[in-house]
Symmetry: C2
Subunit: 383 residues, 2 copies
């Protein structure tokens, strides 16, 4: 049965990309990201990655149209930096440089205002990262005026990094008895300016369509594909909900947390005890299935999902099994670690005021990787 | 007065990107691409670049819809590789790795067929390059399902390269008396399978709208922004024109030539005599204004533009002055070289059966960079 998402035209499982995979020579197939050997330095790996802010820019556009304030675009900069940087740190890579790519419909979007907001956003990100010892060169990028292709805009980026092949977090050492420490996507760390809903960058299509009032699409037809897939929510973007502690729009646009400052410290402190790192983007809580070999991940101590996820589930009527595949459900990053070192990981997280807890453990698999989630919403097995 | 292009929603001069520039620390401001110092190797520069195939994918989509044949998407792979690779070689950089990024509307585009065609295209490009000693690692990429943002699709990529700081083609050495050797964008080199119209990747919006029959937009509204900017041409994509020696659609979709094999050989043979390299993408024949300092470029021996440019000019009624800014007009790449070495550059080009000729020279400027084009269509001064 096609999931809710497939019906919306978003292929969460990304079958299509297989066509490219065969062209990639990859050193560590169990690692989170492809690592290639540096042709000029055989002991070093190259890690290159590209990703976008998904459909989050559509929500920013809606806020901008309603308020006239381009600062609603600002958080997208952090979204694309996080979507790229926090993927490559999962293999222990050091980032080198980042490029952004913005494709837009200049007949709808005020390009200058957009680029100014994004430049401020990028500036803020790279300063914050720098303060915590994460150096990323900003290498510029491209802005493409594509009025025929874009209804509104798309914001993506790419990152290049390097890693000593001896220090790669390969995923191969994940083993029975390892603990899974979950790092929260919501709340507020010491290096952030405000509360975060925890939404990150995935599942935004479903979230927007099921929460935002249909009136918006009548007002701005460019918000989406004409026909069929109408907005069917009952909220205005500026409706404040007590359960969220913020407006619905703020919850949808909370920028994806940057985990790099914390993960850097964790790797410094725990080094070889870290067997796996997982950024819970597309695939949500099931993302750990990307790493390791012959392991059954058991997650039976997940925290209660942040309120935005409960709201989306209620309003969209999505099965819980699917919610865990579409959303991070409050855990944006996972550190798979030797049982003895879990406390140390928790203490590093705590020093940043980043919520963290042991959410599960690793068991020996039965030939294949598997994940079991035991939650108050039910027991779910993946894949 | 806004140009034809500004009216179509495409900002050829890219004023918007200035907002980002201030965040870039660049070593050689007169060079074609930004070069940053490698933090781990002070004698080495990093060159990162991202660019798209512009609106060319819209034309591919039209052919695919009309014929059912996804191979019309294949050339877009070469387009994005060329748009990235041939920009960074302009500073003498060696490419290291390439990523692609495809954003699409999966409700319109057959994703699997598209990705298969692109994978074949990338495979072909990297094999050809490899055969001529240009090694580029293909590092994968991302396919984003963005049905609300994309009417059809956007294909972009990013590349990462390195250069010894002592070998950078900085543009600083361009001087009075240097000759400008133009490399053709049309025709067929020894490493290509068919005749090329020379169109490359810029100016496609104007070209499509002024050549393609309005019937197509009625049939496929997703070809463009609704209203106003209708297709107003009188050709079907498969109309064969004697003057083109191919169909109109083939002329619009000729893949951007890869110059890297030839430029590599030129740098090996002529080394320090090469003072500037220019890839005539956005900005067309005026692109040389990006490099050098206090130089007046005089182009008075341009070849007659390839037939596709004459056709676009005639059908769109564009001023010649603007044609030289929007299109490469038959010269896709320029080598600015010591007068004594021009013959050697021509002989390298000839060994690849790549058309080439001295198209002009460098004179001392009057404080600013300037370009004079003397052609049978008139004399034009830029900026």
């Amino acid at each position: 049965m096609p999931s809710r998402y497939a019906k919306l035209g978003v292929d969460v499982k990304k079958r299509g990309v297989e066509a490219f995979k065969e062209r990639l020579e990859v050193l560590f197939p169990e690692a989170f990201c492809p690592i290639q050997r540096d042709p000029d330095a055989p002991g070093r790996g190259l890690v290159a990655h590209t990703d976008s802010a998904g459909s989050k820019p559509v929500q920013s556009y809606l806020h901008w149209r309603e308020t006239g304030d381009p600062r609603w675009f600002r958080g997208l900069a952090q979204d694309v930096v996080a979507m790229n940087l926090d993927d490559i740190i999962c293999v222990g890579a050091d980032p080198l440089c980042f490029l952004d790519y913005v494709a837009l419909n200049p007949l709808k979007v005020d390009k200058e205002a957009l680029l100014k907001a994004l430049a401020e956003g990028f500036g803020g990100c790279f300063s914050t990262l720098d303060r915590y010892g994460v150096k990323v060169l900003f290498s510029g990028g491209e802005t493409a005026d594509l009025p025929d292709q874009m209804r509104t805009l798309d914001v993506s980026g790419s990152i290049f990094g390097r890693v000593d092949l001896e220090k790669v977090v390969t995923g191969q050492r994940i083993r029975e008895g390892d603990l899974i420490v979950g790092l929260r996507s919501g709340g507020r760390t010491v290096y952030e300016r405000g509360e975060n809903s925890g939404i990150m960058c995935n599942g935004l299509t479903l979230a927007r369509l099921s929460l935002m009032d249909g009136e918006y699409q009548r007002r701005y037809p460019e918000l989406g594909e004409p026909g069929g897939r109408r907005y069917r929510g009952r909220f205005k973007f500026d409706d404040y909900l007590d359960e969220l502690g913020m407006t619905v729009g703020e919850a949808l646009l909370s920028p994806t947390r940057l985990y790099a400052p914390v993960v850097k410290r964790i790797l410094e402190r725990c080094g070889g005890a870290v067997h796996g790192l997982v950024h819970n983007t597309g695939g949500g809580v099931t993302k750990c299935l990307r790493v390791g070999r012959n392991i059954r991940y058991v997650k039976d101590h997940l925290p209660d999902p942040d309120p935005i996820f409960l709201l989306i589930q209620r309003e969209a009527g999505v099965e819980w099994r699917e919610m865990f595949e579409d959303y991070n459900m409050g855990i944006g990053f996972e550190v798979i670690v030797d049982a003895e070192s879990a406390e140390e990981v928790l203490s590093v997280a705590d020093s940043f005021k980043l919520g963290a807890q042991v959410i599960g453990r690793c068991e020996r698999g039965e030939g294949e990787k598997a994940l079991i989630i035991r939650s108050r919403f039910g027991v779910f097995r993946y894949p």
